[in-house]
Symmetry: C2
Subunit: 396 residues, 2 copies
């Protein structure tokens, strides 16, 4: 048996990891915009990246390291994505790392990660000048989590303390950002997960891929896939403790918690909605239908309007072309069965009950396709005026 629970302090709890956020003057208001994560021992590192064809320069740079490389440093900036900047953008990273290692010779194979506007070169001077403010012995996860925010309304971090039956303890901590452009094949989100578990690298790779599939890749704010999406898992094995099942469950909990934080912070969103599709022919179809629901503009505006317009749910299921006959479909809003297979007409009390469900801050819309035994849950939010406002003038 094992147990795990959240503890305050984010990455600060994870043995051997240090982090901080500073201001490089990229954000116009002087807020912190550059963060680092440092480990005093070399780490195994695994990454899951955006599937966008135009991967940003930091992702290309990462992938040019030899397979199985070890690192002890991640540098993150907000405000500029360093995307669509070509080879020049990659050379900029090399140039930044040259300055970094000149100041901190023990930094090995540094990784960069960027978020912000596409199509502009990084301001190298500002970033390298910010290195003067770096102290690699800082434990300031809160500051790092805040420095990587863009349109986020709140910082996102979590640490789990995992206790094994034999008394062994390890930690998994993370900082994360993401609010808009959260999409069905990975959000514009960055997530840096650090663990002191003594995890074999092959386990880490598999656990990360599985966790991302059911968390970040199940989230949607607006269906757009960014050029910069990155989830990194760094492990320095400092605790000397590991148990596979405990690690997997804790990692799933951590990533699912963080993705719900991201969706809840969806640009302009007021409601967090889980779209569960069950009774699907197979998991691929369940996933396709669930993501279609979480991405549908008509569904999202109906959520905003608190209108139990289940016809839009049904229409979206139909548009996703999964195996489902209308006469086998059931639709629930939490506990309210609003569409009962071939029952063609709502009674008004059912609709009133569903309207009450929709007034909740978070609820579940469940569609049983009646075609098989597979299921998938996607996470989405409503779309209101504030989404338009935030995204119509994002750059100004």
């Amino acid at each position: 048996m094992f147990n795990f629970f959240p503890i305050e302090g984010g990455l600060d709890n994870v043995k051997g990891f240090f982090s901080d956020g500073v201001s490089a003057g990229l954000k116009p208001n002087g807020a912190n915009d550059v963060a680092f994560i440092y480990s005093d021992e070399l780490c195994n590192v695994n990454g899951v990246f955006t599937t966008n064809t135009f991967q940003a320069a930091p992702i290309v740079h990462f992938q040019r390291y030899p397979q199985g490389f070890k690192t002890n440093f991640v540098l993150i900036n907000s405000k500029n994505a360093n995307a669509m900047t070509g080879e020049a953008g990659i050379r900029d990273i090399d140039s930044i790392f040259k300055s970094l290692r000149a100041k901190f010779p023990n930094i090995h194979n540094p990784i960069m990660s960027s978020t912000g506007v596409i199509g502009y070169r990084l301001k190298l001077d500002k970033i390298t000048q910010a290195f003067e403010k770096f102290h690699l012995n800082r434990k300031n996860s809160d500051g790092a989590a805040r420095a990587i925010m863009t349109t986020d309304r709140f910082k996102k971090e979590l640490c789990l303390r995992v206790e094994l039956e034999d008394g062994g303890v390890f930690h998994i901590g993370a900082i994360c950002k993401g609010a808009g452009m959260i999409n069905p094949a990975m959000a514009t989100m960055l997530c840096f997960i650090c663990t002191d578990a003594a995890i074999p690298n092959e386990d880490a790779k598999k656990a990360l891929q599985r966790a991302v599939k059911y968390s970040f890749n199940a989230a949607s704010v607006d269906g757009d896939t960014s050029t910069n999406d990155t989830v990194l898992l760094l492990s320095n094995k400092r605790s000397g403790v590991y148990q596979k099942e405990a690690f997997g469950e804790a990692l799933n909990f951590l990533t699912r918690h963080l993705v719900l934080e991201i969706v809840r912070d969806g640009e302009g969103a007021k409601k967090l909605v889980a779209f569960e599709v069950r009774g699907a022919l197979n998991e691929e179809e369940a996933q396709r239908a669930a993501k279609a629901l979480s991405n549908s503009l008509l569904v999202k505006t109906a959520l905003f309007g608190e209108d139990p317009n289940w016809g839009r749910i049904a229409s979206t299921i139909g548009a996703s072309k999964v195996t489902c006959k209308a006469e086998d479909l059931s639709i629930y809003y939490d506990e309210v069965l609003i569409y009962d297979k071939n029952n063609p007409e709502l009674d008004s009390t059912t609709e009133a009950k569903a309207t009450k469900v929709m007034q909740r801050d978070s609820f579940k819309i469940c569609c049983d396709l009646g075609a098989g035994n597979s299921k998938f849950t996607a996470y989405g939010c409503d779309l209101g005026y504030d989404y338009v406002k935030i995204n119509a003038d994002y750059r100004t």
Copy 2:
């Protein structure tokens, strides 16, 4: 050689076709909500329908007629989609048609088409009572075009007079509705095209499929696919005149004109934008990328904000996973080259010029992928506060 040009009066110009709109009391304000199209000779009929799995009852009813059936009557109602109503919804149509033929015995194989809210049974009494107001000799295309409107801000109709070199003349006319839910695989739109051309049915079928591919199926307001989308082409051959090339070109013109009207009337839309993708490896990839652009929420909100944020265009191209290297991509806003292959940085005069383009009511965003010779143009619009407003409380 041939020539064609628009003439006023919609369907009224097409020989042997009659139409009108009346009020059945489905719309609460007493506006007209039921329309008919009647031909005094039997017509060949071809249809293209939604790809949504849950096709509405009228579409299922149509498809139960034997292949190659002939008709002389189309009945259209707005306000209620008769979708997700199961076999009961189909029996309702049969019941309506029984009353219809009792009153008008010369009606043969009538077709129904519905648009409106999903999940409610039709009000049979109201619809059959409205038959009292039907006069099959009416030429009131304007009235029919208005009766089928839902959230449309303006009616949509067009007639083309096609003149052949030998003096022969035929007509193609249409009425059409659609504003919201306009999507990449067919809009929530209804379009009824009538022609007096003496077109062989095999030609009519092919011409319709081709015309729909490059018009209605290239349009997007919000990426949702409705349960009711229908395009019908009825031909009664009354003119005795036909020429294949002239018919094809005129039909393409007609459908393209109407789809632009639909997109321009996109719920809350202020701008009409053509997304041309060229230099694609093949047409499928060109179409995929063009539709991804016209569906992207981030692109649409940037259009609304008149922000030449070409990074979102590039990111969407990348997310569509078509063959394209960043260093081969060029992006134009009308005449302004805003992203020139691997040129990583905008100069500010270019951005200012692109902003001016975006202030136009309609313009073209062109992406040259540099991967091949295929192209496709999709049509889209901006997304602003009014879209949210209209769709958050559509049913109230």
